[in-house]
Amino acid sequence: MGAVIVITSGKGGVGKTTTTANLGVGLAMLGEKVVLIDADIGLRNLDVVMGLENRIVYDLVDVVEGNCRPKQALIRDKRYDTLFLLPAAQTRDKNAVTPEQMKKLCAELKEEYDYILVDCPAGIEQGFRNAIAGAERALIVTTPEVSAVRDADRIIGLLEAADLCDPKLIINRLRPDMVKRGDMMDIEDILEILAIDLIGVIPDDEKIIISTNRGEPVVANENGSLSGQAYRNIVRRVRGESVPFLQLYKNSSIFSRLKKIMGLSG
């Protein structure tokens, strides 16, 4: 029996779709059977991030309306044959799917696949309700900005109200140089405010843009970027492994400096 995980954020543009694609590829790299559902009806994007935009025949709305079987709509990934995409419909609106239909679909898919990742649309309306309906776990993506953290806080409340407790936080686009200068909230600041568990931090990385240009998620490039490594670590934590967090910047508190000077810590 598989797990259904929704990737959500409230605010748009913080990296939900990129995160969904990377976690999906990362899980498939470890041999898991994965389905990615693009729940952003009318504004589908997971297909282009995955580089599968030319292969779409059926979509999510076709499946829930019974125009095709789920299997017919699933697009197999180019490189990982245990990874599938269920694309969103582009010409319909969010009301084309109901939470009950999503629940049923997710229940059906998890019979056969290990992980169902649902890419949630921005906002807190119908599209959000649909996306979370079938999920039993939630990952919240935020960036170290006031607006994104505020929206994440709202989403945490709404998830709790929907009995989706214990969501995990992904902090995206962290810039260690700015944190060091005191011009960006750091991980502890955000965790203190949101009071939920952290599952990973993705450093801001131009390689993500480059890989998205190509339609090849950065996580698959094993010899290279820090962001890819960060995603691979999150993948392992999603599977229940305990993986130490990447050291993105040094803690330079007076105490640790003093200790260093006095030779107490390395």
């Binding site: 900005e145 200068r181 960006m184 750091d186």
Partner: protein, 88 residues
Amino acid sequence: MNLRALLNALAGKQDSKDIAKERLRLVLVHDRTSVSPEFMEQIKEEIIKVISKYMEIDTANTVINLHKTEGTAVLEANLAIKAIRRPG
């Protein structure tokens, strides 16, 4: 406190991240206390239920309000008492 924060404090400056954090804290106090009328009604009923164990409450003249001021929120309950029960 790290060295930078200490130097800033001495110079009377504030890191922009601390400004961000402080603004966020304030806005969340406000967001988190934006509750629906149904929710307020529920709180009111429960408060009346608890207090009624000790006092007889005039429920018609009971008002519960959530006040938000800068940085804090206060729950204010005005309960009109009809009679106080004898301590058992």
